[in-house]
């Protein structure tokens, strides 16, 4: 039996679960997991497992109603992710591939690429992982175009060869796909 299955801990967590019924399921599960970890870690660090010690840890955690009230307050206070910002990012990302790959001047693609990267990294609404995904997707068409033109100019046979079409198509759709993904992340994340 793990310590969080102890009747006292279970009863406490059930009380928190009951009091946070109005919270979004994602937020609620996170809170319950955090509290569960807290109880287990606190008891391990005190090398304690007796009823009184569990009671003491729970007492310090506080009244489930107080925790629930704080959680509900934080949920309301959190800023809504901006849909406009996500849409603008999608437009910038959608421009990167055509400007990089379908014009005679691939370096034109630098403009939306720089814009998209700046727009991404100055925002707080995406996680670092999502920002990296967006950045990579923005840069790929430009890299593809530059690699192609270097290969052509130098008359070296380092081009993509038979892979030109599949890789090129992938580079074309990748930024839009990333833009849609980042938009979905912004929409799905509740305030």
């Amino acid at each position: 039996m793990t310590i969080t299955e102890h009747p006292l801990a279970k009863k406490y967590l059930a009380a928190v679960a009951r009091e946070t019924a109005a919270l979004s399921p994602e937020r609620r599960n996170e809170l319950l997991a955090d509290l569960e970890e807290h109880i287990a870690v606190a008891l391990v660090e005190e090398s304690a497992s007796g009823d009184d010690e569990i009671r003491a840890v729970l007492a310090r955690l506080g009244d489930p109603r107080t925790i629930a009230a704080t959680a509900l307050g934080e949920e309301a206070a959190a800023p809504r992710p901006s849909l406009a910002r996500a849409l603008a990012l999608l437009v910038l990302l959608a421009m990167t591939a055509p400007l990089s790959m379908l014009t005679p001047y691939p370096l034109l693609g630098c403009i939306p690429v720089a814009g998209a990267i700046w727009w991404l990294w100055t925002s707080r609404q995406w996680s670092r992982r999502d920002k990296v995904i967006g950045t990579v997707a923005a840069v790929v068409p430009l890299l593809f175009a530059v690699a192609e033109s270097v290969a052509v100019m130098g008359d070296v046979h380092l081009g993509f060869g038979a892979l030109f079409l599949p890789v090129g198509l992938l580079a074309l759709v990748l930024p839009v796909a990333a833009g849609v993904y980042l938009l979905a992340r912004a929409v799905r994340r509740p305030a």
Binding site: E37, V41, A42, V44, E45, R60, P79
Partner: protein, 117 residues
């Protein structure tokens, strides 16, 4: 029965309002030197009496800091007990902390100015 320690009558409305405003910056400051996990943060915060009356309320706060992009979390195994969820400052978190650190002395002085005769 879980005793209701949050209802300490001495912790008045002013105190709880103040705490609400500054606690997150204290948390960010505690993370300045490196990642920490929840129980660790609470031990440090608990060393100063006014900061946390009900430890569990720190978790919704940490969750919001994470959603606001001020901290990041990752799980790390521990030699004893369950894996710990570590909180770490992001660049935005560092910026927010710097901004608060710059504002706070003025704020403190202004309040002192009005409440002392």
């Amino acid at each position: 029965m879980v005793p209701d320690i949050a209802g300490k009558p001495a912790a008045g409305k002013a105190e709880s309002q103040l705490r609400k405003g500054v606690l997150e910056y204290c948390v960010l400051a505690l993370l300045r030197e490196g990642p920490r996990y929840g129980v660790e943060l609470l031990e440090t915060l608990g060393a100063v009496n006014v900061m946390v009356t009900s430890q569990g309320t720190i978790y919704p706060l940490l969750s919001r800091l994470r959603r606001d992009g001020l901290v990041e979390t990752r799980w790390q195994e521990s030699p004893s007990g369950p894996p710990r969820r570590y909180y770490e400052l992001t660049p935005s978190g560092h910026t927010a902390l710097k901004e608060f650190t710059a504002i706070w002395p003025h704020f403190r002085e202004a309040v002192d100015h009005f409440i002392t005769d």
